[in-house]
């Protein structure tokens, strides 16, 4: 039987962890967050709360949004104590 000949008996649903498993989920966005670095105080609240791990933070450096994966949920803008993040509509 063709199916049996083709397959390895050890084929199994084992998956590897990767970045971007569901692709670049930034494509989901309707609004994108933009950080005004003049207002940013590097409190890292945005980094703390991002559900998509789409904000990169290094200590003492400004947080950076990874637009490949940011879904535009707006939590970062909502939690920022200095309102340093605004949500801007994506262009077509």
């Amino acid at each position: 039987m063709e199916e049996l000949e083709k397959v390895s008996h050890t084929m199994a649903p084992i998956s590897k962890p990767v970045v971007g498993a569901a692709g670049k989920t930034g494509a989901w966005r309707i609004f994108r967050p933009v950080i005004d670095y003049n207002k940013c105080i590097k409190c890292y609240q945005c980094w703390m709360y991002c559900p998509d791990i789409a904000i990169e933070a290094k200590w003492n450096e400004y947080p950076k949004i990874n637009y490949d994966f940011c879904k535009g949920c707006g939590i970062c803008a909502n939690v920022c104590p200095r309102q340093a993040i605004r949500m801007v509509r994506e262009h077509e």
């Binding site: 990767v18 998509d52 707006g74 939690v79």
Partner: protein, 304 residues
């Protein structure tokens, strides 16, 4: 543990998962994994996490994940935990990560059994207050007054007081948490990890599509859940055979009902509460009940 140290910790939940924008569960998982570290085996029953880890042959979760049948997680975890001990392995975590469905309803007997036997596992329930994975059906975690697809007129029964139930089991550590207080969650997971025996952590996990609110308000609602007294953050640790019950700092002010924010603040953003008057009444009953339990456990608490 400082913010600086935590920032340097590796991200074990990887970007590119397919959770809904603004999902409270992934914020919770992200911080849970930061605390657990790489030598972790997550046992995941059917739930949202089964889906947003995404599709074979890739996964968005960077630790061991064993996806299992709905009701079975705590029992599979018991088998894994005992087997690793048989093999003489050290320094690993066996953690059940499931929703209110898999932990409180269909899997309840299984979790209770593992708790009663004192299995050396951590069971974490991320409670988004309905069977969200299958499209928002009512669970025992759904609060009274909430719309779900199976309670279109609003649930009439109260939310199951789940975390307290495990205080009456053979647990060494029971705690509640919220993604809106990630460092508190992080510390609790870290503490649980160090203890031997059955540990239970219950996270109230806001859900934009299920609770019907704009997705940017997840953290705001998480904070309001604590500030209104709806969700109390506490932990209980077994020391010398007695439970030491401690209210966590974010919740301490709300032991005093006059300090609690009005329930309207919390429910006004959530369109799942259609009849606001009924919802307010039922939620007030829940809040009263929860805090009466807390006061009781606090008064019986022992330093050990």
């Amino acid at each position: 543990m400082s913010l600086k140290e935590v920032i340097e910790k590796p991200e074990l939940l990887l970007p590119g998962h397919s959770a809904c924008p603004g999902c409270g569960a992934v914020i919770s998982l992200r911080w849970t994994l930061k605390a657990l570290g790489k030598r972790t085996i997550l046992v995941i029953p059917a739930c949202c996490t089964s889906v947003y880890q995404y599709i074979w042959p890739t996964s968005a979760i960077g630790v061991f994940v064993y996806n299992v049948a709905f009701a079975s997680a705590a029992a599979v975890a018991s088998g894994i935990s005992n087997a690793l001990e048989i093999k003489g392995r050290k320094d690993y975590n066996v953690v059940v990560w499931g929703g209110d469905g898999g932990i409180l309803d269909i899997g309840f007997a299984t979790v209770s059994g593992a708790a009663e036997r004192g299995e050396n596992i951590i069971v974490i329930c991320y409670d988004n207050e309905a069977y969200m994975n299958t499209g928002i059906q009512r669970s025992s975690g759904t609060p009274g007054g909430a719309w779900t697809t199976t309670t279109p007129l609003g649930k009439t029964e109260q939310k199951k007081a789940a975390p307290f139930i495990f205080l009456l089991h053979n647990a060494v550590y029971v705690a509640t948490a919220s993604p809106a207080y990630p460092l508190d969650l992080y510390n609790k997971v870290k503490k649980a990890k160090k203890l031997r025996g059955f540990k239970y952590i219950h996270i109230l996990s806001p859900c934009p599509p299920g609770w019907r609110y704009p997705e940017n308000l997840t953290i705001k609602l998480g904070k309001l859940s604590v500030e209104t007294g709806y969700w109390a953050l506490w932990e209980a640790e077994r020391i010398n055979g007695k439970m030491k019950f401690t209210l966590s700092p974010p919740s301490r002010p709300y032991l005093d009902p006059s300090k609690r924010k009005p329930i309207e603040e919390y429910i006004k953003h959530q369109r799942r509460f259609r009849d606001k008057e009924i919802a307010k009444k039922l939620i007030q009953e829940w809040i009263n009940y929860q805090w009466s339990l807390i006061k009781r456990f606090m008064s019986e608490s022992s330093e050990g």
